[in-house]
């Protein structure tokens, strides 16, 4: 029998502690849209997306209403476009036509972002992959809702340093192409190592080639709920702390699992995974940084931060795994700067540097995320940061990613406003000693020794 205190607790989590389902993402395969003619290809893509995701937004709203749980984002991910455009696209401009089609399809279905304008080049780049990558700045500048990602390495293949070098340049060009908009294009572009096929979170979401024709993935959230639970055990030892995070993660994930199953059933699309991530938003009280500070740090960035984050990540996974039948995606805690008020504050008070953030990415869910850097940062330096982050992922057999925003015309001390869920960010200091000769070598860093598990 349902008990009034449990009902009260659930509704308090929703109303006061910002418990929500962060995203329902419908993955759609575009492999059956391929055609040698660009017009036919774009028409096929538009038709398939708008047909498959026709009811996504309305079903999302219906679930919100029936269970009283907010679902913040409804999104779509598609097969990496570099694989789809192979026959029809002979230059970067051809790919931009596909990007515009994706944008139109996103608007028609009412989703706020569509991911999958992507290339997977962890071992090598085809001519088509390179066309797509070179089209990214123009594609992101001329669309509103399209997100792009490029996978440049993996534990199995090593790191494609030619692609790393190219991505350094592409990030710069994207910043330039969207300079009138605070270089916002870079907020829609992620460079991955070990990218998962079933990630529901933007900007890195795409529908991997290992996936079914269409699938529903759900990303749960709730940093506020975890923080509030930890307030109750202030001063207690680590055992109690861990137990508290674990129990809370279980409850939060159960809601994600419920929403995933409902959405899957109502849409007639199979359920894929629940991504057990704590994803912050710029709203006060919805911050991963605040959880770490609640554990006893005066500021995120203080010694102990990496340990605190490691603990949080592990307990979230331990609590969540039993609550869902399929867990996947990135699963862990996100540590973006601009999207997390606690992180922004830590950067502003000088407690959190890019180097500390890099150390934190060894134990978190993804990587260097939504960090504004001076517009004058060189492409080689950006490539160097990407290479460092990819190396962490490659060696540690985990997903890592970089989403840096070199804001044109801004320098350390400035603040950049991105708006909405993207928040704002102080421009951070980057180590300016050159890594140009290192990046210019080109070629590939071989896979690490522990990748040979056959």
């Amino acid at each position: 029998m349902i008990n009034i205190f449990e009902v009260y607790e659930t509704n308090k989590m929703i109303e006061q502690e910002q418990l929500d389902v962060r995203t329902i993402t419908m993955g759609i395969s575009l492999l059956d849209c391929c055609d040698a003619d660009l017009d036919t290809l774009t028409r096929n893509i538009y038709d398939k997306i708008t047909r498959t995701a026709r009811d996504l937004v309305s079903v999302g709203r219906e679930i919100e209403r029936e269970y009283g749980i907010p679902i913040v984002n409804k999104r779509i991910s598609v097969t990496p476009v570099a694989l789809i455009g192979g026959r029809a696209c002979t230059c970067p401009e051809d790919f931009v036509a596909i990007a515009r089609t994706l944008d139109a399809a996103a608007k028609a279905t009412g989703v706020n972002f569509l991911g999958g304008y992507s290339a997977l080049v962890s071992k090598g780049m085809t001519a088509t992959d390179e066309h797509l990558i070179r089209s990214i700045p123009m594609a992101l500048a001329s669309t509103e809702r399209v997100c792009s990602s490029v996978n440049i390495g993996s534990t199995r293949t090593g790191i494609n340093m030619d692609a790393v070098k190219l991505m350094g340049e592409i990030v710069k060009e994207t910043a330039e192409a969207t300079r009138d908009d605070s270089s916002l294009g870079c907020a829609k572009l992620v460079v991955f190592c070990n990218a998962p096929d079933d990630n529901p979170f933007m900007a890195g979401a795409f529908h991997g080639v290992t996936e079914a024709d269409a699938v529903i993935n759900v990303g749960v959230s709730g940093p506020g709920v975890v923080k509030r639970a930890l307030e109750e055990v202030r001063g207690e030892n680590f055992e109690v702390l861990c137990e508290t995070v674990k129990k809370t993660a279980f409850k939060v994930t159960r809601v994600g699992q419920l929403v995933a199953q409902e959405a899957s059933q109502k849409l007639g699309v199979p359920f894929g995974i629940v991504d057990l991530s704590l994803a912050p938003t710029p709203a006060v009280g919805d911050s991963v940084a605040e959880i770490l500070e609640e554990m006893g740090l005066a500021s995120v960035g203080a010694p102990g931060t990496t340990a605190a984050l490691a603990l949080l990540n592990d307990q979230v996974k331990k609590g969540g795994v039993m609550a869902s039948s399929f867990v996947g995606g990135l699963s862990g805690a996100f540590i973006p700067v601009s999207e997390d008020q606690g992180m922004i504050d830590a950067v502003c008070r000088g407690a959190l540097s890019i180097e500390k953030l890099e150390a934190m990415t060894c134990v978190c869910s993804v990587g260097l995320d939504m960090i504004a850097i001076p517009g004058a940062t060189s492409a080689a330096t950006i490539a160097g940061i990407i290479a460092d982050e990819a190396a962490i992922g490659m060696i540690n057999q985990k997903t890592t990613a970089v989403r840096l925003i070199p804001v044109v015309g801004r320098d350390v001390g400035d603040t950049v406003e991105f708006g909405g869920l993207l928040g704002y960010a102080p421009v951070q200091q980057v180590n300016t000693f050159s890594c140009e000769d290192f990046i210019n070598r080109g070629g590939r860093i071989p896979a690490p020794i522990h990748s040979f598990k056959n």
Partner: protein
């Protein structure tokens, strides 16, 4: 095959006033919704009421009923929510 009927949980939170239960129950009776259980308590100074109702014969679709009750709540300075029971059972039961 249709899905099994879900019970709906109605919660009323706010300052205590005369006639809250009467008003909510009248609305439910008028729309063929059967009340199966009512419990109430004061939590952190707030009046909290929970009803478990069966909407299988309800004359109104779920969304409309939820909207109507929300408005009735606003008129009395209360927050009234309707939610399917699953969110509570899933979260608190293994």
């Amino acid at each position: 095959m249709s899905a099994p009927i879900k019970k709906t949980i109605i919660t009323v939170v706010g300052k205590d006033t005369v006639g809250i239960i009467a008003k909510v129950c009248t609305y439910l009776a008028d729309n063929d919704v059967n009340v199966e259980d009512i419990s109430q308590t004061i939590i952190q100074g707030f009046f909290n009421m929970m009803m478990i109702v069966d909407t299988s014969r309800s004359s109104k679709p779920f969304g409309e009923m939820a909207g109507d009750l929300e408005r009735i709540g606003e008129e009395m300075g209360l927050k009234i929510r309707c939610q399917h029971e699953d969110i509570f059972t899933r979260m608190h039961r293994i």
